[in-house]
């Protein structure tokens, strides 16, 4: 019993320590704050970079720091034959250059010949 009381007394004496902790704590906050600052500064830019790195939509190629939507010629031409790409737009002016039905996406043969000439 006596022993346990002493222990209790010891524990009751302990609250004196926080005074010391207070002083050490204030000292600690100084370097702590300095550490935080640079972390915060990098944080905004880095977070943005991280966000962009995680962005990998299909068929999009990020070429520079900014993500730009780019497509190769071959990929664009592949899409030309999809039914969605063949439907006539709803509002087209009645005009000599406007066609009633979609024309064949293929390039006329004589022009392909020219193309091969340059290849």
């Amino acid at each position: 019993m006596e022993v346990s009381r002493r222990r209790i007394l010891h524990k009751h004496l302990q609250p004196a320590r926080p005074l010391r902790r207070c002083t050490t704590a204030t000292q600690e906050t100084m370097p702590c704050g300095e550490d935080d600052k640079p972390v915060c500064n990098i944080g905004v830019e880095q977070l943005f970079k991280i966000l962009q790195l995680q962005t990998h939509p299909p068929h999009k190629v990020s070429t520079t720091a900014k993500v730009r939507i780019s497509y190769s010629r071959d990929f664009l031409i592949e899409l030309a034959t999809s039914p969605m790409a063949r439907r006539k737009p709803d509002f087209l002016p009645d005009h000599p250059v406007v066609l009633e039905t979609a024309r064949d996406p293929a390039v006329p043969l004589f022009e392909t010949k020219f193309d091969n000439m340059f290849a």
Binding site: T55, R73, L76, L79, V97
Partner: protein, 237 residues
């Protein structure tokens, strides 16, 4: 949160889904005459990519112009001669317009197709163009359709890699030759213009002896004013 671009995309396509009429509206062509009659022009909806479609980096508009013989040439008459055919925001929407327009090689007379970023008029005087210039390539007859297609596919596919610099492209059908050109914002930016030239060479698959010329719009305006002021006030540009 990990992908803000997806969030934007969903928002756009969601808007499209809510309003099935929006696609019709966005493709509505706007003629100069309509503009006078239609008070709602300013409210015209901006083209958005459809749900299953492939979005483009920018929205674009097709324009067509043809010289009307005998009309006085002025900036104003040039503007009234140029007709907007339609705007698009996705690869699929582009093909829908493109496949319903005749090929430049089949155009007759003194006429031009223009493909410009939405909001930029194919005119030297537009804010986006006034400090700019263009690369010009003169083509012998028979090459325009294929070269034009390669040029605009490179532009839509963002192959030039010059940031925001590209404004649009033009194919001009003339009597003995055809001309294709690509316009950029800053004529004085030599790194950009050099990069555009090199990309043009690559994507157009041009013969090595092809002559490419860069012309600033201020020079074009000066030449045009000199010509029409001194020689022929009734000509067209």
């Amino acid at each position: 949160m990990n992908n803000k671009f997806d969030a934007l995309k969903d928002d756009d396509s969601g808007d499209h889904d809510q309003d099935q009429g929006s696609q019709k509206d966005c493709e509505k062509e706007k003629t100069e005459n309509d503009e006078d009659k239609d008070q709602n022009t300013a409210k015209r909806k901006i083209a958005v990519p459809g749900a299953e479609e492939h979005p483009l980096q920018y929205n674009y508009s097709f324009w067509y112009s043809r010289r009307t013989p005998g009309r006085p040439a002025s900036t104003q008459s040039y503007e009234s001669n140029i007709k907007q055919i339609g705007s698009f925001a996705s690869v699929e929407q582009f093909w829908r317009f493109y496949s319903h327009m005749i090929r430049p090689g089949d155009l007759t007379g003194h006429s031009d197709f223009h493909l410009f970023k939405e909001g930029i008029k194919p005119m030297w005087e537009d804010d986006a163009n006034k400090l700019g210039g263009k690369w010009i390539i003169r083509l012998r007859k028979g090459l325009a359709s294929r070269c034009w297609e390669n040029l605009i596919l490179a532009m839509l596919g963002e192959q030039f890699m010059v940031g925001e610099e590209i404004c649009g492209a033009v194919v001009s059908v003339r009597f003995q030759e055809d001309i294709i050109s690509i316009w950029n914002k800053t004529a004085s930016d030599q790194a950009t213009t050099a990069r555009i030239r090199d990309t043009l060479r690559r994507v157009l698959n041009l013969p090595p002896n092809t002559i490419m010329e860069y012309k600033t719009h201020t020079d074009s305006i000066k030449a045009w004013e000199d010509f029409h002021g001194l020689v022929n006030p009734a000509g067209a540009r």
